[in-house]
Symmetry: C2
Subunit: 574 residues, 2 copies
């Protein structure tokens, strides 16, 4: 017979590597080892199974043609042996075998390999706080726990839920509890914002406001310090420095760690981000490959190492391992964490670096913040989509894009196109010219992504100079912090009125279309913060004022289309 290929881990990267390689080298023998009885499921679907969007957990295990991916399926259809309920205890690299134990019978055996693939995934990080092991405290790490949670929901045992962790999984779970099941749901996040390091704070605020509007309580900047039991011994309260929240269930979604112990104990090189691999996904032992959540990944934009625990990447990496097992020298360029999430009636997405991360990575980063139409402004379903392009001022390279929009594929379209270009080193100019498909029901003639690039161009050429969102917010909260600033509101007088009334001396107005006729009336001793709906007219006014010698101006990027979604406390109509 042919080569023996053993794969440890049977969820995403492992089966992908095994099945792809089996097709390329049909004479080889493939064995997938997994400690669970359920394998090859769509783990990213768990929140939608819990929410009820997906009726049956079995659907997460089925192919698109309705066959369940169990042991017989892998044997009959794929020609791959799946040893489930079997734990890999250790790797003997000298003898080239994996020592395994059946978790039901306790039987042990050694499984020999010519080539080994480690696809052990990640494990949830459990906060080291009192009560973290109480009954009723869950991590979202496998189907069994999801089934347990859903059966409790379905039998009416959960009326209140606390999610610890404001990352994507935590927020998806919060929606699952709150939306269909109507649970009183709270999210506690240690960092000062949701989705930290993935999106910038102003996007996080827009997301938070929407989720709060949908009934979820969100407490950022509050770490859970303890989980307290009720009389029945179950988790009943989550304690933070600011409050104690009653609950029937606690979901701990505080991130994951690479499951790299097996590799580490076998003497393979492992970093804090996971198993170290080369660009053909070989570990420090050339006969052993690794793929999925357990590996360290190179960030395509920053060049830095990081963890990228995403199902989409696991599948790509699995295929690359399959190619290399079969002697096809496919390489992995790294990842950039393209991300999208449904949050009730909104979608939020990002790719590449956010502004904060880009600065931390050493780029001379700036952000073009815009709020354009997702489709022709005259088309009935049009809406504004805050869209931000992070770019490097030195090289004009685009570093990342973020978007917030309605619950459809409008944000997906811009994020995917951005990911494609960023991966190829795309510059502001590439984005400006990128030929997005256009018809009024789908886009604007210059697509939102093109328009964001044009704003980035204006900024990088120093034609457009913005006030940052945090600086603007700080000033709105306390005008005396910048006594020489003055808002110059160029919107329609009807729109300006409530602001002028509320903010008095801090607010001035001069309508956009009158700027050329009346600019001489503007005060010369103030820094003017030019405000419109989307930032576009503000730029036009800024560049015109420059031409007449009034240069102490700043544009509010994204304008009030952004602010309405952030719902700041000072908003007059509130």
């Amino acid at each position: 017979m042919g080569e023996k290929i053993v794969i440890v881990g049977g969820v995403a990267a492992g089966p992908k590597a095994a099945c792809h390689a089996k097709r390329l080298m049909p004479q080889a023998e493939f064995t997938i080892i997994d400690q669970d009885s359920l394998i090859s499921y769509g783990g990213c679907g768990i929140p939608y199974y819990v929410s009820g969007d997906v009726a049956d957990e079995d659907e997460l295990r089925k192919t698109s043609f309705h066959m369940t991916r169990n042991e017989p399926f892998f044997a009959d259809a794929k020609g791959v042996t799946a040893m489930t309920s079997t734990r890999a205890l250790s790797i003997d690299r000298k003898e080239k075998c994996v020592h395994v134990q059946n978790v039901q019978t306790g039987d042990k055996q050694a499984v020999p390999y010519d080539k080994l693939v480690i696809a052990t995934g990640s494990q949830p990080f459990v906060l080291p706080i009192p009560g973290n092991d109480l009954p009723g405290v869950y991590t979202i790490s496998d189907l069994h726990k999801a089934i347990d949670i859903k059966s409790q929901l379905a039998t009416g045992k959960i009326g209140t839920a606390v999610v610890i962790g404001g990352g994507a999984i935590g927020l998806e779970m919060a929606e699952a509890f709150a939306d269909l099941w109507g649970c009183e749901t709270s999210v506690v996040e240690f960092m000062p914002q949701l989705l930290p390091r993935i999106i910038d704070s102003w996007f996080s605020v827009m997301l938070q406001k929407h989720m709060e509007e949908m009934g979820v309580n969100i407490y950022c900047g509050e770490g859970a310090s303890e989980i307290k039991a009720g009389e029945n011994g179950h988790a009943a309260q989550v304690v933070t420095p600011n409050r104690t929240i009653d609950c029937d269930i606690v979901v701990m979604a505080t991130g994951v760690r690479p499951r790299a112990q097996l590799a580490e104990e076998a003497g393979l090189q492992v970093s804090p981000f996971g198993i170290v691999v080369n660009d053909r996904l070989q570990t420090s032992d050339p006969n052993i490959y690794a793929a999925g959540d357990c590996i360290e990944v190179t960030h395509i934009v920053s060049g830095q190492k990081f963890m990228a625990p995403l199902g989409s990447l696991a599948n790509r990496e699995g295929r690359i391992v399959g190619d290399n097992l079969a002697g096809i020298p496919t390489t992995y360029p790294g990842a950039m964490g393209s991300f999208i999430m449904k949050a009730f009636e909104r979608s939020i997405g990002a790719t590449g670096l956010c502004l904060e991360s880009a600065k931390a990575a050493g780029f001379d980063a700036d952000a073009a913040i815009t709020a354009p139409s997702d489709r022709a402004h005259f088309f009935p379903t049009e809406t504004k989509i805050p869209l931000q392009m992070v770019f490097d001022r030195r090289t004009r390279r685009v570093l990342g894009v973020q978007g917030f929009g309605p619950m459809n594929d409008a944000i997906l379209a811009r994020i995917d196109a951005a990911a494609a270009l960023i991966a190829k080193g795309g510059t502001i100019d590439d984005f400006s010219l990128c030929e997005m498909a256009y018809a009024p029901p789908f886009a604007t003639a210059l697509d939102a992504l093109n328009a964001a690039a044009n704003v980035a161009d204006n900024m990088q050429m120093n034609r457009q100079r913005n006030v940052s969102i945090p600086d603007f917010m700080a000033w709105m909260a306390d005008f005396s912090s910048q006594p020489d600033w003055l808002a110059l509101d160029i919107r329609h007088p009807k729109e300006v009125k409530p602001f002028k009334e509320k903010f008095a001396e801090a607010w001035s107005e001069l309508e956009y279309k009158e700027i050329r006729a009346k600019y001489a009336e503007l005060p010369k001793d103030k820094t003017l913060l030019i405000i419109c709906d989307a930032g576009t007219r503000s730029y036009e006014v800024q560049i015109f004022l420059d031409s007449v010698g009034i240069t102490n101006t700043r544009v509010l990027g994204g304008g009030f289309n952004l602010m309405t979604r952030m719902e700041p406390e000072w908003w007059p109509e509130k």
Copy 2:
């Protein structure tokens, strides 16, 4: 005063060039000349105005902040003079002036320029057939005609409509007549398919079937040979070689021609595709730029010259001219005709070259035809989206992508990402690895576009060998044309049954999961056409059969997910 810049043409490219350049060179004087009284409107919105999606024609002339783009708007807000109802008669390049005439008063004058921009757009091609000038025969070329058509619809004067031309504008107009207004609507297309040279015939058939299902009569391969008048002298019948169709209105949407006469008469270089420009959009006279529908464009993929009359490109080109007027040396890489269209409850899109065009351009082109899920197959709103990747077998370069899906932004997302990558010379490998954003409500873990690239990889590596759609269709229509072919249907026996019953000896079955156990029963003297839902399992079966020496097989790419949308006459359930 500053430089004098004159722009001839005030719809899309012209105003964009003028306003962008004015911001960059505020001291210069800008004058837009247009023969129409209405300028700077969203011409692509005309079908949606006629359909009623857009209530008022004024909305097509407004900015996103609700100001009408008329002469005072350009003067007050943009600092640009708009001379409307003014026809440019000729260009005197020696004296550097444009001779113009007011179309209302007849007054003539010479408008001097330092730099000139020609943005004269395109004019509809009018078929040279009898009756083409009857009252009731319209082209879709300006707002006035659209207003006229809509007022007739609104007053109940149009019950039946014939559209001559099955391109995008023709089909959008057909929907406008048929959908809201309920007109009996027919489309007559001279070529054998809708959207010729933009999409391949099988995509055209899917589109046609849907439009027919929605009540539009579509006659391809039938040129209109005459338009006959009724008793009132109005157009009343359209005649083709096969039929005579009664109608109250005729829309002629048989393509456009560059409006290049002014340039040609001024001695500028002009080709059949339009005004010849360099990559900074200068004409053969360096003081004269040109942009928009009137210019010849280089195709980014084929390198060939072509006409690209798209509003999206006009805006990009306008901005580039603006940069160059201001001394910023921005270049235009050309275009690839990215395209998307709403057709009732479906969307159809394309970018780059279709298979037919790619072959005609000399590529060793092949097409990966797929029918994947647009989002996780377990997510409630999931649907299959036929998606095709055209690639060059020699270089692995991706040449084009086409998609057909539901009326949302799912196709847009894939077309835009594809356009971004193709413009950067993306190969199959770039598409396979492109990091599309993933969450179950938006995509599959390996996105549809990644999966299409993986099929292209399998084909280019000769692991997957397809039967072409036309060959398969020809065989289904007449089995005796290929007597040694045999369908091998690997779907569930329940799905196979009606086909087996209807097609008897031409149809064999062996369920996917039993292929390894029972392949020895397959006939050895036949060429097996392997059939499943999407083509994915068929590939797995093909490569397995290869490994056991059964190599006379062909995969039906896209499988029956494609066929159901083509609704062939032989479909059993029909």
